[in-house]
């Protein structure tokens, strides 16, 4: 699918289904994994977590009659893998940048990611900056004002979450989906109409319906 298109399959416009790819970015210990596990499984550090992995998770939503298939791509947060970022976030509709409110460094890392994403993907991508671990408010090292002002300055939205207490997570994803739908709609209108055009980059291929030799036996390339 073309970047930002996301307008997946769907017969008529009323039952249209959007497919969105969202990447999760952030340093190792900021709680990325807990965040998605809480959202998709509603579990936190639970011994009964049945899911095998938390690297790729999906969620189906229905927002105002619009069906959304959300694919959440976790990315390796270690510094040594930083250079691989572009391979991960290529063609994504949204990015969730997570930092730990008790860790100034992790916020700095988020700033680096924002710079990179804006440079590589422009404004096509919806950015969410997420201060996780608000249950540790007493140990906060990143000020609310600073974080929110920064998010606004780069055209991102800021959220506060706690995977432990299940705070703010539902809102975060819902909001993000709404914004991605808007972006996709703007995109659609710009390109023409409907998901049939969402292929965008693909040029139309001439399909000749009634060519007689189409029926000739055997494939041309059969081995």
């Amino acid at each position: 699918m073309a970047a930002g298109g996301g307008g997946g399959a769907g017969g008529s416009s009323s039952s249209k289904t959007y497919s969105f790819k969202v990447v999760l970015l952030g340093e190792g210990c900021v709680g990325k994994t807990s965040l998605v596990l809480r959202y998709c499984e509603n579990k936190f550090n639970d011994k009964h977590i049945t899911t095998l992995q938390a690297s790729f998770l999906t969620k189906k939503l229905n927002i105002g009659g619009k069906r959304v298939n959300l694919a959440i791509w976790d990315t390796a947060g270690q510094e040594r893998f930083h250079a691989l970022g572009p391979i991960y976030y290529r063609d994504s509709n949204g990015a969730i940048l997570v930092y730990d409110i008790t860790d100034e460094d992790s916020f700095q890392k988020v700033k680096n990611w924002v710079k990179e994403l804006r440079k590589m993907l422009g404004n096509e991508i919806c950015l969410c900056i997420v201060g996780n671990k608000v249950d540790l408010e007493k140990e906060r090292h990143v000020s609310v004002q600073e974080a929110e002002a920064y998010a606004e300055s780069v055209g991102a939205k800021h959220y506060h979450t706690s995977a432990k207490q299940n705070k703010g997570i539902e809102e975060l994803f819902l909001d993000l989906c709404k914004r991605m739908i808007e972006t996709a709609q703007v995109d659609e209108r710009a390109k023409g109409n409907g998901p049939s055009q969402s292929g965008g980059a693909r040029r139309g291929v001439q399909i000749v319906d009634d060519e007689p030799q189409a029926q000739s036996a055997g494939g041309c390339c059969s081995g």
Partner: protein
């Protein structure tokens, strides 16, 4: 388009039998789509015909053409024939299978590209990195647990098997299978679901251990000819992307990415030193017996050469000692000789041996003369 790289006749026959079977299955499958199915079959035939005439085109054009075909076919099924989305997906899988079974030998690792060269580069690179340990990559998998070690072996087998498949989707399935084994191994080791922080290093480790054949060719082939809806957003797409990341990491890997000093890194790269020697136990669990034996032999050899050196040093010392000893004895003897010079006294003659000439015979009584007695 170039000829197939002369596979054995039996292999060719097997391929064509498979191709025929795929065609038959495809026709059967399309019957369930009625008119739409008939149309799809026609489109596929036209597509294959056209590709056949495009023989001389470069691979990117062929890829573009194929992607357009996927897109248009899917759109037509959905918009014109009003086929429900899940049925469209199913049909697209079958279409991919049908056309790619036929196109495979012409568009996999084509001679017009440098795919093969890239394959060899990656293969050599991975060979040169044989010394990388799980510890250096921080792999969260404990191969001492037999179950985990089994899964590591299965993951390696899966990723190697990718090369033997002809359809992009089947190749993707091998990558997914490999990834699932990795997740299981992590799950057992850490007892929690694997995050990307765990998964990627382990995948890198598996790729390094497997050194899968024609890695770049397979990646390129999937990128060019896989049905895009599967590749971009689905679960398979995620694992595929991680594999691409693993390869990119391996290609660019340096001292810093393994937390080693430049000096250590270049020593390992040049083969002057091997970190495995100290870590033999960690590698033992699943290293192939030959390699294990080789390591043991290398160890033995180095021990032997050490001992030999000790012997040579010992022998040299012994030689020196002997020379010194002779000299010392000589010196001592001379000292003693000087201190106590040898004076031969005359009276010692008295002790002359009985066998010597008797100088003073005359002083002896005359010998007894025989006397005659009467009687």
């Amino acid at each position: 388009m170039k000829e197939a790289k002369a596979p054995s006749p039996s292999l060719t026959r097997q391929y064509s039998i498979e191709t025929d079977r795929v065609s038959k299955d495809f026709i059967e499958f399309l019957k369930t789509y009625h008119k739409a199915g008939h149309d799809v079959y026609k489109q596929c035939k036209v597509f294959l015909e056209t590709i056949h005439h495009k023989k001389e085109s470069n691979i990117d054009e062929l890829s573009e053409f194929t992607q357009d075909f996927y897109q248009n076919t899917a759109d037509k099924l959905q918009m014109y024939w009003k086929v429900p989305p899940n049925k469209v997906e199913e049909a697209m899988d079958q279409i991919e299978k049908f056309i790619m079974t036929r196109l495979y030998k012409h568009v996999f690792c084509p001679e017009t590209t440098d795919d093969e060269k890239k394959d060899l580069t990656v293969q050599k690179r991975i060979r040169a990195l044989h010394w990388v340990t799980p510890q250096m990559l921080c792999v969260p998998v404990n191969e001492d647990i037999p179950e985990v070690s089994d899964m590591v072996v299965k993951a390696i087998t899966d990723i190697i098997e990718m090369d033997s498949k002809r359809i992009p989707r089947d190749k993707l399935a091998c990558i997914t299978g490999c990834s699932k084994q990795i997740f299981n191994a992590i799950r057992i080791t850490k007892n929690e679901p694997a995050s990307a922080d765990d998964f990627l290093p382990t995948l890198i480790y598996i790729v390094l251990k497997a050194n899968p054949p024609r890695l770049q060719s397979n990646i390129q082939y999937i990128t060019r000819f896989c049905n895009p809806s599967r590749l971009m957003t689905g679960e398979d797409g995620y694992y595929f992307t991680n594999l691409c990341c693993a390869i990119a990491f391996i290609e660019k890997l340096d001292a810093q990415s393994l937390n080693l000093s430049e000096e250590e890194f270049s020593r390992y790269m040049s083969g002057q030193a091997s970190p495995k020697k100290q870590d033999t136990d960690i590698w033992d669990a699943d290293t192939c017996p030959g390699v294990k034996q080789m390591h043991r032999n290398l160890d033995l050899l180095s021990q032997l050469s050490e001992r030999q050196e000790r012997i040579v040093t010992g022998a040299k010392k012994l030689e020196k000692d002997l020379i010194d000893w002779t000299e010392e004895v000589t010196r001592e003897v001379q000292d003693i000789v000087e201190k106590y010079p040898l004076h031969i006294k005359a009276n010692s003659q008295a002790l002359a041996s009985i066998d010597s000439e008797n100088v003073e015979d005359d002083r002896l009584p005359p010998p007894l003369q025989p006397q005659v007695y009467a009687g």
